[in-house]
């Protein structure tokens, strides 16, 4: 059966070779012709069929390819005399995989394994099929079979690895680990182990079963030498000892690691933890066998300390002496760990109240004197800074500022040191408490410092970072604070100018671009934000971690096609990755990297369960619905492909929510928007430190965000189905009493009610309470603002309630008062919410973070869904075949019902006209007028005339000569112009508003035609 020399899939190789070559050079047409010729000669050869299928798939003809593959599969199964070899199977496998039919490939291999038992090559092929399909149990069984067949260690390890995957990924009982351990033990007794990865796998088996002593014993024995890097071995040993509560031995081991790797901070923390016998909960390993870092905020560690004062002090002294030894050993180098260790030791002492508090500040200062000129200084000490009291903070800052009076001789060092000090100011939140005038002076001084030091970057390559680059980010941050505190728009524009200026000089600064993306979004210049985002060239896995900078704003904007592009790029990356990763797991098996197999499978799951991915899968159909909402027929087409929205409902089920992962990197977000759902600038600034500390706690905010995202996903998953049911059930009411309706109708009504109950709970109330609130607002008993900030969800709810109510008449008063029907409630809510948004007389420009996104959403969502309900009602009112009845419908139908529809249409027309007027007013001004107005904000008078305005400092730098800053920077400075930036802003705002206007106009046109037809 095996391919004999010169045969490929049972066909002489010379006949197949030309086809391979043609495929290789992507000449698919030619190769197809050759493959057809081959098939004519070998009509029952599965390999010839597989080749043809492969070519067809590559030519973009998946259906034909699948048909031929299935034919080949049939042949394999039915004809015993047919030639089957590995090449045939693997070629079929490739095609099946590309057609997303992994299971069919597996069937082929399974069949071949039965036909040719004990053929290792095919068994390995089948193993790979199971790997692709994540069938861990079958993997394990097959690997054991191969191990028994040939006794090779690698097959045993494949089996053990498959067991670990069952325990890690499919919550199988831990008991299986015992089996794995026994298997390995037996193998080791006769063969020992020869592969470091095998040892790591064995140790992890023991560690997972908490057999720490046994693991230490194995590691200390002969097998330990398999781990090539001595420090790695010691790290594992230290961890095992610590987990076995053998703290003194663990301390000793960690000490040994520190002596050879004094900069290993994690090991230092482990050392200190074991030495002081802290609560070592953090030492539990995570699933990937790494030590979890001790939590910094966890002060519990020291509080739980049971050591006596004397004992504590004596152990601290031994830590101090170790640290001193390490410092002496690495003096003069860049090893910072041993020096930062002093601060950590002081922190511990301070927590236990055993030493004077001054020592802590002193330790920070000592570290500053040594490393203050390094750009990592601020991030090194950031966590420690947050532990300072107000008094200590002032003292520390005062001493830092003193060093500015006698700066280092090297201008570069002086610049870097000054930057470190500014960064410390920033992380201590000084900008929120400093008097406004001082703050303004600081910004200008910083900007002057940046411009003055441009000369230092004269000879740098364009790709290299400029010296003092961080200054502009910090200046921009402070200017935004100034805006927050004063509401003077000029500051915000200055923040933008500074960053644009920096990007003119060097266009690769990622941080500036991110800041601009957010500032432009805030300023209603979303197209410009999108442009900068595109220039970041975010791709690959970064679409998962970084797209939060732009996607949320885009989803609430009228830029539908750009939003669609962002979503489809993201989904394409994720889908491709998830498909390709099936093969990548095999790479790790092939290279015998078992710990990587487990890491990788877990990583794959992490991405597969991504909250961003789930959200995007929901956003795509919702966006499509928004785009097509003007046509009931097109919306119904979308629903046909969506399984009427019920598949989306399943996406937010409890199991999915439990395993959701959050992979966003919020680190680079601006201080005023630590997560996509927070914008501090929307609220007024309040003085007061504790309040700020709470607000600016990024980690905490990120955790809160997770809860918000889960709610959002649930809402999004409900939305399409609610729209679908609303369209379906609205006409039911026209058929008369629901009791007469079909069973199907009754089900739909029941379902929409239960979904509405869920939706209400999601927005924070029970269904009945939500209804009461709506009615109370409608009757004027409660104000609109009682709905809270998420009025879009509330209005969606109102629209769907109306659709439901058409059949149930729950919302009507006993007197059948027409003003009380649910149509009126929708009309009222839409009208009041929209007119409230339109009452702001200012232009979009004058109110950053304006109501535009809310208005856009109101029109694109509840209003659009309501029009769909209206269309559906009207369609059912019109008798079939008489769609263009000349006389109105009002006479011929239930008149109160028809009147309600008419009123609603009139209401929508009038609100859309109002919005149209408002938007037109905004874009009526010429671009020149806008530019002048923007520039006037930048040229406002300043209380520090001698420093000039930010703009004047930027403009003054233009005069720096080529000899000072070099040709490239000089040319960039010359090309910079504030007016150009203002023009771009104005153009972007106009374009955004125009797109919104055209959406409104298209809906108006639709409503006019509906109105005419009634």
């Amino acid at each position: 059966m095996a391919a004999r020399f010169g045969l490929a899939g049972g066909i002489p190789e010379r006949r197949v070779r030309p086809i391979w070559d043609a495929i290789d050079s992507r000449q698919f047409k030619a190769s197809l012709k050759l493959a057809n010729g081959l098939l004519a000669k070998y009509p029952t050869s599965p390999y010839a069929l597989a080749l043809k299928a492969l070519i067809l798939e590559r030519m973009g003809k998946p259906e034909e390819a699948l048909g031929i593959c299935l034919e080949a599969k049939e042949l394999l199964h039915s004809n015993n005399s047919v030639h089957v070899d590995y090449l045939t199977l693997s070629t079929l496998q490739i095609v099946f995989q590309r057609l997303d039919h992994l299971e069919l490939a597996t069937l082929c291999y399974e069949h071949a394994c039965v036909k040719y038992p004990n053929n290792l090559e095919i068994m390995i092929g089948l193993f790979n099929c199971y790997v692709r399909e994540c069938s861990y149990v079958k993997q394990q069984q097959l690997a054991m079979k191969m191990y028994k067949l040939v006794g090779e260690e690698r097959f045993l390890l494949w089996a053990v690895c498959s067991i670990q995957l069952q325990v890690h990924c499919s919550s199988t009982s831990q008991k299986l680990l015992q089996l794995a351990e026994a298997l390995m033990k037996k193998h080791m007794a006769s063969n020992s182990l020869h592969d470091p990865e095998a040892l790591v796998l064995y140790l992890s088996l023991l560690e997972q079963q908490e057999k720490f002593d046994a693991a230490v014993e194995v590691l200390s024995g002969d097998l330990g030498s398999l781990i090539g890097i001595q420090e790695d071995k010691l790290r594992i040993q230290g961890r095992l000892l610590a987990r076995a509560c053998n703290y003194s031995a663990a301390t000793e081991i960690f000490e040994r690691v520190l002596v050879s790797c004094p900069d290993d901070w994690e090991v230092f923390l482990c050392y200190l933890g074991c030495l002081l016998e802290d609560d070592l909960n953090w030492l539990k390993m995570d699933a990937t066998m790494q030590i979890c870092s001790p939590s910094f905020d966890d002060n519990g560690a020291c509080k739980a300390n049971h050591l006596s004062n004397d004992e504590f002090n004596s152990r601290i002294s031994s830590a101090v002496s170790l640290v001193q030894r390490l410092q002496t050993d690495c003096n003069g180098g860049f090893v910072r760990g041993a020096f930062l260790a002093n601060i950590e030791i002081e922190r511990r002492c301070r927590l236990c109240g055993t030493k004077h508090d001054d020592n802590f500040v002193e330790a920070l200062l000592t570290y500053f004197y040594r490393f203050g000129h390094l750009s990592c200084f601020a991030s090194d000490v950031e966590n420690f800074l947050h532990l300072l009291t107000l008094e200590e903070k002032d003292k520390f800052l005062e001493k830092l500022m003193k060093t500015l009076e006698s700066p280092p001789a090297s201008p570069l060092k002086a610049l870097d040191q000054a930057i470190s000090i500014f960064k410390v100011h920033e992380s201590l939140g000084v900008m929120f408490s400093l008097p406004l005038t001082d703050l303004e002076v600081t910004t200008k001084r910083m900007l002057q410092m940046y411009c003055k030091n441009l000369t230092l970057s004269k000879d740098l390559d364009p790709q290299e970072n400029m010296h003092g680059e961080e200054l502009l980010s910090m200046i921009s941050n402070i200017l935004v604070v100034l805006f927050w505190r004063t509401r003077i728009l000029g500051y915000l524009l200055e923040a933008i100018m500074v960053l644009e200026y920096g990007l003119t000089i060097r266009r690769y600064v990622w941080q500036y671009k991110i800041q601009l993306v957010h500032l432009y979004s805030l300023l209603g210049a979303l197209p410009l934000a999108y442009e900068w985002y595109c220039m970041l060239e975010v791709k690959n896995i970064l679409v998962e971690t970084v797209s939060h900078h732009i996607l949320p704003q885009m989803l609430n904007s009228p830029l539908w096609s750009e939003t669609g592009d962002l979503l489809s790029d993201y989904l394409k990356f994720m889908d491709d990755h998830l498909r390709e990763s099936a093969d990548l797991t095999s790479v790790a098996y092939r290279h015998r990297n078992y710990s990587k197999v487990i890491e990788f499978v877990q990583f794959k799951e992490r991405l597969g369960h991504s909250s961003r991915l789930l959200t995007a899968r929901l956003d795509v159909p919702i966006l499509q619905l928004k785009q097509k909402a003007n046509s009931l027929e097109e919306v119904e087409c979308i629903f046909e492909n969506l399984n009427c929205g019920s598949k989306l409902l399943e996406m937010s089920n409890e199991d999915k929510m439990k395993i959701l992962t959050f992979n966003e990197d919020f680190h680079a977000r601006p201080w005023w928007s630590p997560t996509p759902n927070i914008n501090y600038l929307a609220d007024n600034f309040e003085e007061g430190f504790p309040w700020l500390k709470e607000k600016l706690n990024k980690k905490k905010k990120a955790v809160e965000e997770e809860g918000i995202v889960k709610k959002l996903i649930e809402r999004k998953s409900l939305l399409p189905r609610l729209i679908y049911l609303s369209i379906q059930i609205s006409p039911i009411s026209l058929k008369g009493n629901v009791g007469n309706g079909s069973l199907h109708d009754a089900d739909a009504i029941k379902e929409i009610k239960s979904l509405l109950e869920k939706y209400a709970r999601n927005i924070g109330l029970s269904f009945d309470d939500a209804m009461s609130l709506l009615l109370a607002i409608f009757k004027g008993q409660k104000p609109l603002k009682d709905l809270g900030p998420d009025i879009i969800s509330w209005l969606n709810f109102t629209v769907f309630v109306n659709a439901w109510n058409l059949c149930c008449h729950q919302l009507e008063s006993p007197r059948k008062d027409s003003s009380m029907n649910s149509w009126s409630v929708v009309d009222y809510m839409l009208r009041s919410c929209i007119s409230e948004q339109l009452t702001h007389p200012e232009t979009v420009l004058a109110v950053p973070g304006s109501n535009l996104p809310v208005l856009v959403q109101l029109v694109a969502e509840p209003l659009a869904w309501h029009i769909l309900v209206i269309q559906s009602c009207i369609r059912s009112m019109l008798p079939a075949g008489k769609k263009k009845k000349k006389t109105g419908l009002v006479d011929s139908l239930n008149s109160s019902y028809a009147h309600a529809v008419c009123d609603s249409v009139q209401c929508l027309i009038s609100v859309l006209q109002d919005i149209g007027k408002w938007v037109s007013n905004q874009i009526r001004k010429s671009e020149d007028q806008d530019v002048d107005r923007l520039l006037s904000h930048l040229q406002r008078s300043s209380s520090q005339e001698e420093l000039g305005s930010i703009l004047s400092i930027l403009e003054a730098s233009e005069s720096m000569s080529v000899s000072e800053v070099g040709e490239r920077i000089s040319a960039a400075l010359q090309s910079w112009s504030a007016a150009t930036v203002c023009r771009k802003i104005s153009a972007a705002q106009h374009s955004l508003l125009s797109q919104f206007l055209s959406i409104c106009e298209s809906k108006l046109k639709l409503l006019y035609s509906i109105n005419k037809s009634i």
Partner: protein, 212 residues
């Protein structure tokens, strides 16, 4: 407090983010994955205080049986905030040592842009690389690359626990498939660098950010 340690798959997110910060090139995800799943011993990250990844080196073993066993540095990056701390040297040394001790590599090669003075200096003065050849128009933008090499001590490989032999024959679990795949450029299982986009720069060493 920078610890040089072997990379984990989860580090890839931070590594790519770092790449965005300091390299003009940005590799495909599967390229990173292929490296870490094939030669995890050669991937190192520089982890700073608080678990932040501030630098990394991506390296591989060349699988061409016609050449002597050698390694190749694919990518090296250090965040700007952590330059001038000797991290690039440490990362490179760690990767080179592993090539030698785990795989018995005789030498290590890399490519560097002709214009990248900082990286060139690092490779020649700190790490003793020598120019072996010049590859004309190696990068997508038409720039030439220096093909640089450094001789390793070339410890005889195969002693004690060497992995090396697994990489040179197709005895692994994907063996036969790579035969089939080799003419259909399914790429992922074979060599994503060559198959993914066909661009030469994918396999390059954009060490622009590595300047010490």
């Amino acid at each position: 407090m920078v610890c040089i340690r072997q990379a984990t798959v989860n580090d890839l997110l931070a590594m790519q983010a770092g790449n965005l910060l300091c390299l003009p090139e940005n590799y495909q995800m599967k390229y990173y994955l292929y490296h870490i799943l094939s030669w995890p011993q050669l991937l190192f990250v520089a982890e700073d205080y608080d678990g932040r990844i501030v630098g990394y080196v991506l390296a591989k073993m060349e699988e061409d049986a016609s050449e002597p066993c050698h390694g190749h540095i694919t990518s090296l990056a250090v965040l700007r905030t952590h330059r001038k701390l000797g991290l690039a040297t440490k990362l490179m040394t760690a990767a080179q040592n592993a090539m030698e001790s785990v795989f018995g590599a005789e030498y290590v090669s890399l490519h560097v842009r002709r214009s990248n003075r900082a990286a060139f200096t690092l490779y020649t003065s700190s790490l003793s690389y020598r120019i072996h050849d010049v590859e004309a128009k190696y990068y997508a933008d038409g720039e030439d690359a220096y093909d640089m090499r450094k001789q390793l001590k070339g410890r005889p490989h195969g002693h004690s626990h060497s992995h090396g032999h697994h990489h040179h024959h197709h005895g692994g679990c994907c063996s036969g498939e790579s035969k089939a795949a080799s003419f259909v450029d399914v790429s992922v299982a074979v060599d994503p660098a060559a198959g993914a986009s066909g661009s030469n720069s994918l396999a390059s060493v954009p060490a622009s950010a590595a300047g010490e």
